[in-house]
């Protein structure tokens, strides 16, 4: 149906969406600005890659184990982050991403700078899946992740996160254990990122430490911030747009980093909420026209007594 090239891009879009959702949970909802989310992608990808290549696990058992490892990593890295906030937290998370990357490079067990190759595609009914099926799997995973994310933010956890983001002091005065909910954010966000990492690793079939260093974390930040931090629609839009853009405009890909950087600066100058974030120009337009549209129906059909 699609060419191989289109399939690859679509699968990447899916993996980045899931990782972006993870970053969005930690930084967008819980408000803990994290500049090292690619670490969790790395944990997921490396766990799954090691399990499938060295220990002969099939993909379907490696995936949950990798998710659990990412969650554990989220817990461990969340602990120091509980003690600090804002600028300190940013520096710490950058630090975590460097320690992680240099450990992967220096320890021969993880394949060193060349990484791990020969990661198998997942098997379904005894045969390796085709790329189309893999795309469907990624797509299903994205839907599950988005649905879970909606469920989460409308539950107690999500409300607690948003209240921590708005004012941590007041939240703790209200009797909410902010430390607990921040840790939840790290664990759940890390699991999301780990899932993205696993999907990425099994499609690429080889991974290097540099895929999960500082720059990929920045890419995630750019996607979510561009789309609208703190919203699921923004994350989806950002991940899709940012992954497609260098492919649609080939001449850009040479200058990808500088354009990403400039985009971040200009977004912060003119639209800090992101393209589709709450209270952003475009989203306000869409929202108010939607309201007007539905209002017209309401005046037609609703009872007049109010």
């Amino acid at each position: 149906m699609f060419s191989e090239y289109t399939l690859t891009i679509l699968i990447f879009v899916g993996a980045w969406i899931i990782a972006g959702l993870g970053f969005n949970i930690i930084s967008g909802y819980a408000g803990q600005f994290h500049l090292g989310t690619a670490v969790y992608m790395g944990v997921g990808a490396y766990t799954s890659a090691l399990l499938t290549t060295r220990f002969g696990f099939p993909f379907w058992t490696a995936l949950p184990v990798a998710l659990i490892f990412s969650a554990i990593m989220g817990f461990i890295t969340g602990l120091p982050a509980l003690r600090v906030k804002e600028d300190f937290l940013v520096v710490i998370t950058i630090g975590i991403s460097f320690v992680f990357e240099s450990l992967l490079i220096y320890l021969p067990y993880f394949g060193g700078p060349v990484g791990i190759g020969g990661i198998p595609m997942p098997k379904l009914f005894g045969t390796s899946v085709s790329k189309e099926i893999y795309l469907l799997m990624v797509f299903a995973m994205v839907i599950i992740c988005v649905a879970l994310n909606y469920k989460l933010i409308n539950s107690w956890i999500g409300l607690a996160w948003e209240s921590i983001r708005e004012d941590e002091m007041v939240t703790s005065i209200l009797g909410i254990d902010t430390r607990k909910f921040k840790l939840y954010a790290f664990i759940i966000g890390a699991t999301y990122c780990g899932c993205g990492g696993v999907l990425y690793a099994h499609y690429m079939t080889y991974i290097t430490p540099y895929d999960f260093g500082f720059l990929p974390s920045i890419y995630i930040v750019v996607m979510v911030v561009f789309g609208g931090i703190g919203t699921i629609r923004g994350t989806l839009f950002g991940a899709i747009f940012m992954t497609m853009m260098p492919e649609l405009f080939r001449f850009i890909s040479e200058y990808r980093n500088s354009i990403y950087g400039l985009l971040l600066v200009f977004m912060m100058l003119f639209e800090p909420q992101g393209i589709l974030g709450d209270r952003s120009y475009i989203w306000d337009k869409i929202y108010s026209s939607w309201k007007r549209l539905t209002a017209r129906f309401r005046t037609n059909y609703a009872p007049i007594n109010r």
Partner: protein, 287 residues
């Protein structure tokens, strides 16, 4: 044995003073505006490149340093005026994200303008100097001299001049200083100018130390500088200098005498994380 240790300490202080030079700029800016100026690493790369350019044009090292300082100071002013100033009333994360973006942009711009290849810095100072069993290269001595001069000037400005008092007042309380009639805008511009100029010197010194100028040279040092401002306590100038020297020392000794599976920046970041766990305000910061 003692002479090798002294030798190691002297070598490590060379690294340490370079670290301190790079950290000072970010620390000063953090002290006044409370913005984590990650993009300072881009300024530092720009400093190394303009220094090289001026040196190739004039063949005078001092002139090259002064030219690069002036150029980077202007970059710093532009960053303050056009990027950070509109963001001061907004949440702190806004300026932070912009700073990250600016850093990515600037290091990629260096790659586009100057090419990805490594260029040598053709400064030839001649023989190593031997004092007893200790031998120092002239580049080491140059770095010591420059660091000393810059810190002396900086100490003088911060402690003996009106603008220094103004900067210290602003770092304590920006609004109160405004009420007391301090020209806050001009002082902040001054901080950005000085901070960026000092980073430029840091860039040039690193370039002659490793005899290499390349677009990603800012990365490693900037991350270390980030670790250092935390270790030194945010906004504390003395803390930044001491933390720089300390990091140079630990790095040199750890890499020569033990086999830790971490790169040099990995070591710095590891210490940072451990430190934060036990002393969140940094080694020399106030609680």
């Amino acid at each position: 044995m003692i002479s090798t240790i002294v030798q190691q300490i002297l070598n490590s202080f060379v690294l340490g003073s370079v670290y301190a030079l790079i950290t000072i700029g970010i620390t000063m800016i953090y002290g006044t505006l409370r913005i984590l100026h990650i993009a300072n690493a881009g300024v530092y790369v720009a400093g190394a490149y303009t220094g090289l350019l001026f040196y190739l044009l004039t063949h005078n090292f001092l002139l090259a340093v002064i030219g690069a300082m002036f150029f980077c100071g202007l970059i710093g002013l532009a960053i303050e005026r056009f990027i950070y100033r509109p963001m001061i009333p907004l949440p702190r994360a806004v300026a932070l994200i912009a700073s990250v973006g600016l850093f990515i942009f600037m290091s990629d711009l260096a790659r586009i303008l100057a090419g990805p290849l490594q260029r040598p810095f053709p400064l030839d100072l001649g023989q190593r100097v031997n004092i007893g069993e200790i031998s120092l290269s002239r580049i080491d001595i140059l770095i010591y001299v420059f660091t000393f001069i810059i810190f002396a000037i900086l100490w003088f400005i911060m402690n003996k001049t009106k603008i220094g008092y103004a900067i210290r007042a602003i770092s304590q309380d920006l609004d109160a200083s405004k009420i007391m009639g301090i020209n806050v805008e001009r002082s902040i511009q001054f901080v950005f100018f000085i901070g960026s100029a000092i980073s430029a010197v840091g860039g040039i010194l690193v370039a002659i130390l490793y005899n290499a100028v390349y677009p990603s040279m800012g990365d490693v040092f900037s991350y270390k500088a980030l670790a250092l401002i935390v270790i030194g306590g945010f906004g504390s100038l003395l803390g930044a200098v001491l933390a720089g020297l300390l990091l140079g020392l630990t790095e040199t000794f750890i890499t020569t005498y033990t086999h830790v599976p971490l790169s040099r920046e990995g070591i710095a970041m590891f210490f940072l994380i451990v430190l934060i766990l036990f002393r969140p305000a940094g080694l020399f910061g106030k609680e």
